[in-house]
């Protein structure tokens, strides 16, 4: 079953056609690795997929319905982009608490603390995130993947950036477990990481 379908998507930026009439589907229990050179349009494609950008042509179908960012169904999608999505003056716990309440998730403070401890952020839960290193801030952003258990699709843009080897390994296992349990993942990464689950690659060619 297709979780998300990109139909005839075209995108142009700065008078450059990034891709044209592109079709892509991500099914339940599948990981799609988006490959391509820098500037090939991977991030643009992911942003179109989650509704942050509008394509020039084409449409995105999410769970058999046209993607509508203000619809409740968008909550079954988790996007981790280049920017962490955390306010730097607030602590990791507070940031994640507000994120959960905005998504109307039943997540207790204990669950957040346990997740942060699992991600090796023990002792840093209450510190404003601006005091955390880039890798630690990334881990706070990725904690969302542990907190929302009913998600259907993860859209991850360079999720391994700034992470240490152990956390990369932990994230790979978590992605594999999500996919094996019927989740769908589409991600970009320039890092070679071993994710043991059904997967396929989709390459975007750089074009002028």
């Amino acid at each position: 079953m297709n979780v998300v379908e990109l139909k005839e998507i075209s995108c142009e930026k700065q008078n450059r056609q990034l891709f044209s009439r592109l079709n892509l589907t991500v099914s339940k229990g599948e990981l799609v690795l988006l490959r391509g050179e820098n500037g090939a349009g991977k991030t643009s494609l992911l942003r179109i997929l989650v509704g942050l950008s509008q394509p020039q042509y084409g449409r995105v179908v999410f769970c058999k319905e046209a993607l509508d960012p203000s619809d409740e169904q968008i909550k079954s999608l988790i996007y981790v982009g280049h920017r962490p999505g955390n306010n730097p003056t607030l602590s990791a716990i507070t940031n994640l608490k507000f994120w959960s309440s905005q998504r109307k998730l039943e997540v207790s403070e204990t669950a957040i603390i346990e997740t942060l401890e699992h991600l090796q952020l023990e002792g840093l839960e209450d510190a404003p995130t601006r005091y955390l290193s880039a890798g630690q801030q990334r881990r706070v952003a990725l904690a969302r993947l542990w907190l929302q258990r009913d998600a259907k699709l993860w859209v991850l843009d360079e999720p391994f950036t700034a992470l240490d080897v152990n956390t990369v390994d932990m994230l790979c296992k978590h992605i594999a477990s999500f996919v094996m349990n019927g989740g769908a993942v589409i991600m970009t990464s320039h890092q070679a990481a071993k994710i043991e689950c059904p997967q396929r690659e989709f390459t975007l060619e750089y074009s002028w």
Partner: protein, 222 residues
């Protein structure tokens, strides 16, 4: 939807609490601007009383504009805006909660300080009362229109000067009706008409601005 709006409001208040200077700076700016006028135009009570309404209103607009730029900028830069857009609640509801929080955090301290400033400018009780009413009715319009400007320029690198240039002309009607109401009060004339017009402007802006703000934010994200 209401719970999400409340959550956004709480978050804004908490951030403001952690960055108190962001609230205090426009307030100090407001006090300094109002205090400069008696020094510049002399301490004559009649002249001060005549210009008082206009002075406080212009200072209030400028101080509100001073702090409004960060209304969406921080969320835009740190990626929180992207998460808002995918939380399943209409963005227009989220922006209304943010604008309301901004108004509460910036205007309520200003209202608390206003008796002192009214004293500086030799305002009568009637004038002061109408000043408060015009500020309560007029400043939400400034916040809402200001938020449209911020949403339009949020993706620009340097929008510091552009923002007031874009927005100030839109505040002219408010300024005219607010100062006219205060002047009417000083002459013991009815001022309900001016307040009514200001309220009508506010209601019209309240109905339209949330959609304009959310659309502008989506365009800026693109």
């Amino acid at each position: 939807m209401i719970s999400v709006a409340l959550s956004i409001f709480q978050r804004e208040v908490l951030i403001a609490y952690k960055q108190v200077s962001e609230i205090i700076q426009p307030l100090v700016f407001f006090i300094i601007v109002v205090s400069l006028f008696p020094l510049a135009i002399g301490p004559g009570p009649e002249i001060l009383q005549r210009v008082s309404g206009g002075v406080i209103w212009v200072a209030a607009i400028l101080s509100l504009l001073l702090g409004i730029e960060r209304l969406f900028r921080d969320d835009f830069n740190d990626g929180c805006m992207e998460q808002y857009m995918m939380c399943g609640t209409p963005l227009s509801v989220i922006v209304v909660a943010k604008v309301f929080a901004h108004w509460m955090l910036n205007i309520v301290p200003l209202l608390i300080l206003s008796p002192l400033l009214a004293l500086f400018l030799n305002m009568t009780f009637d004038m002061y009362w109408v000043l408060i009413l015009t500020l309560i009715v007029g400043t939400p319009t400034i916040s809402l229109i200001g938020a449209i400007g911020v949403a339009l320029t949020v993706s620009l690198q340097r929008s510091g000067v552009l923002l007031p240039l874009l927005l100030l002309p839109f505040f002219i009607p408010l300024l005219i009706f607010a100062t006219s109401a205060i002047e009417s009060a000083s002459l013991q004339l009815p001022y309900g008409f001016q307040l009514g017009i200001m309220l009508a402007i506010f209601l019209m802006v309240l109905a339209l601005a949330p959609f304009a703000i959310s659309y502008s934010l989506r365009v800026s994200q693109h």
